[in-house]
């Protein structure tokens, strides 16, 4: 098995002292970001992205692009675990994927008086879910990448279209809204230079817009500032109650006993979460709701759900973490982000001078396998830190609003400025912050916008390369079997919401919401 040799090499890279040190820093930062209600995984990664440029170019002794990706991914792992802590202890979700934990996690902690068990159950199932997903990642990544290496422009374009179609067809929000956001993202991506001919376009004569609308300031605005503004409304409404956040060894052992009773549920949810995470879209958030639904559906005591049932913690947690890990799979192998957070990580790869996609496996095997190995290490580290540091993390909630909120704004502005030393980027961040807040209020999904913005240039390039190869005929896309199948699948996916609505109308009931999404 070639995989084990590659993985061993990856561990050798990931265990390099600087990489371990940065992984540790990243996981701690991720946990803090996860706990803070105004700061999510996506915005946290986006804000810290400019720093990774310095890490990637060797500002720290011995650091390189592998250190940078390990750092960024580590933040994500920390945030995946950390978001649940405040859900369980204070009934305030730190991250969107921790919202389901309000249903059973908080009742178990508060009403049944077992906060330690609730936390431990969440951590062990997260860890197991992530582990399963990482193992699948290890074995699936290389075959997918090798297959993708054979793709020509027609197939690549079809893959991009398919990923856009999943955002529309399987998204949680109204499909037309996803489509609108997708179009907006592609439009923003088109600003600057034409990718093939190099002509100026959509810059309205402004020199500063020639380099295009940068991805990072937009994302920091949409997610970072937008989230801060949205959480401003909830200030004063939420009330932080004082629950003991102690987590003892007995809790961990009890959680492991409970986990063994639910091993089938947790493992199957992890596998479902993996495949759900591979699809571009909402990643961990949608998977956590799906995981909760499955846990409830196949439970023998449904009436316990909502009252502190442990399956209601373990089911969604294992699916969410599995999906979080899996969202990196299409990013690394095909150059398509599986979630907004992995879209930001992908933007990082571009900035460091790497081309995400199958070529990575050939040109930078150290990078890919170092990343995969660091996922194992990162989750182990996160798991241990969570068990040890819950009381400390819970204390972060006590940092006063009047200090933490402006501080996040300040950090966001540093992040957007320092990438290109551009004051225009600062204004882009602030303006997109307001736009992001308004989109959130109007329930427009942000994921399609971000994914389209990061994929816009490559999609256009492959489309036009294919059209040039086909002498302008769109029939070129149906020359290869694979691209035909992918394009047809895309059409089917887009039609799913329509069919669902029509069938619901026939039965004479209101069309159902796609996924329960608060």
């Amino acid at each position: 098995m070639e995989v084990f040799g590659d993985l061993a090499g990856g561990f050798a890279t990931a265990l390099h002292p600087i990489n371990v040190a940065m992984l540790f820093v990243a996981v701690v930062l991720g946990l803090v970001i996860g706990v803070l209600p105004g700061l999510g995984g996506t915005s946290g990664v986006a804000i810290l992205l400019p720093i990774t440029v310095f890490i990637a170019h060797g500002s720290l002794p011995g650091s390189d692009t592998t250190t940078a990706i390990i750092f960024l991914a580590g933040i994500y792992w920390g945030a995946l675990f950390g978001g649940v802590i405040t859900s369980i202890l204070f009934n305030i979700p730190g991250e969107p994927w921790a919202v389901v934990l309000l249903f059973d996690g908080f009742p178990l902690a508060k009403r049944l008086g077992k906060p330690g068990l609730a936390l431990a159950s969440s951590f062990v199932s997260s860890f197991l879910g992530a582990l399963v997903s990482t193992i699948l990642f290890t074995f699936f990544a290389l075959p997918i990448a090798l297959k993708a290496l054979e793709f020509g422009p027609a197939e690549l374009f079809a893959v991009f279209v398919l990923s856009f179609a999943t955002l529309i067809g399987l998204g949680a929000e109204a499909p037309m809204k996803s489509l609108a956001m997708l179009a907006l993202g592609l439009l923003l991506a088109a600003v600057g230079f034409d990718t093939i001919t190099g002509e100026q376009r959509l810059n309205f004569g402004q020199v500063s817009l020639l380099s295009g609308i940068s991805f990072v300031p937009v994302t920091i605005g949409l997610f970072g500032i937008g989230e801060i503004l949205a959480s401003a409304e909830e200030q004063g409404i939420g009330y932080v109650e004082n629950i003991s956040a102690r987590l003892g060894l007995t809790d961990v052992f009890e959680a492991i006993r409970e986990l063994r009773k639910r091993l089938r549920l947790v493992l199957s949810n992890a596998i479902i979460g993996f495949f759900f995470g591979v699809l571009p879209g909402h990643g961990a958030t949608a998977a956590s709701f799906l995981g909760y639904g499955l846990a409830r559906q196949y439970s023998s005591n449904k009436e316990n759900f909502g009252k502190g049932e442990i399956s209601g913690i373990m089911g969604p947690q294992s699916a969410a973490d599995a999906a979080g890990v899996a969202s990196l799979v299409p990013m690394i192998t095909l150059g398509i982000p599986g979630s907004p957070t992995s879209a930001v990580i992908m933007a990082g790869l571009f900035i460091w001078g790497l081309q995400p996609g199958p070529v990575l496996f050939i040109q930078h095997p150290d990078f890919v396998w170092g990343l995969i190995a660091s996922i194992y290490l990162g989750h182990l580290l996160t798991f241990i830190l969570c068990l040890l540091a819950v009381p400390l993390l819970a204390m972060i909630m006590r940092v006063p609003y009047a200090i933490i909120t402006p501080f996040i704004v300040v950090i966001s502005i540093i992040g957007s400025y320092s990438l290109n030393n551009s004051i225009l980027d600062v204004f882009i961040t602030v303006i997109f912050g307001l736009i992001g807040y308004w989109l959130r209020k109007m329930k427009y999904p942000l994921a399609p916008l971000v994914v389209a913005l990061v994929l816009g240039d490559s999609t256009e390039r492959e489309l036009r390369k294919a059209l040039i190869a086909g002498h302008g005929s769109p029939l070129y896309f149906f020359n290869s079997g694979l691209s035909t199948v992918l394009l047809l699948a895309a059409v089917v996916l887009v039609l799913i919401p329509l069919v669902r609505t029509i069938r619901a109308r026939r039965r004479g009931v209101a069309p159902p919401a796609a996924v329960a999404h608060p």
């Binding site: 503004l229 009047a402 200090i403 540093i414 400025y417 320092s418 329930k443």
Partner: protein, 118 residues
């Protein structure tokens, strides 16, 4: 229809829970905009001359003002606490970014004239 699409959320809850929540957001959004303007300054360009309407305060002075304002206005801290926040945060940021990562953040008009080191 365009207007309605822009203002009607498709959900059960309304856009705002009364004027209180709107003000909570504005309290955050307006200082943020002012903060960004303060960092950049305002310049009025005509063909042969550039007028400085508001001199650029740079990153550090603006941050001190911004964080101080929040601590004083929303946090209602005692004045020495406000001063401590306004001084300590910019210094920590200076140490981390300017010295640690060697990121040069925008400097104030006083830096250009040589009065202040930031």
């Amino acid at each position: 229809m365009g207007y309605r699409a822009l203002t009607t959320p498709q959900g059960v809850e309304g856009a705002f829970e009364g004027s209180k929540s709107l003000f909570a957001v504005l309290k955050l959004a307006v200082p943020m905009l002012l903060y960004a303007v303060l960092i950049a300054g305002i310049k009025w360009r005509t063909t042969d001359f550039t007028y400085t309407v508001l001199p650029s305060f740079g990153f550090y002075l603006s941050t001190a003002l911004y964080m101080g304002l929040f601590a004083w206005w929303l946090g209602r801290y005692k004045i020495w606490w406000v001063a401590a926040i306004a001084v300590i945060f910019p210094i920590v940021i200076f140490a981390i970014f300017e010295i640690g990562f060697r990121v040069s953040l925008p400097k104030s008009f006083l830096y250009e004239t040589g009065v202040l080191p930031f």
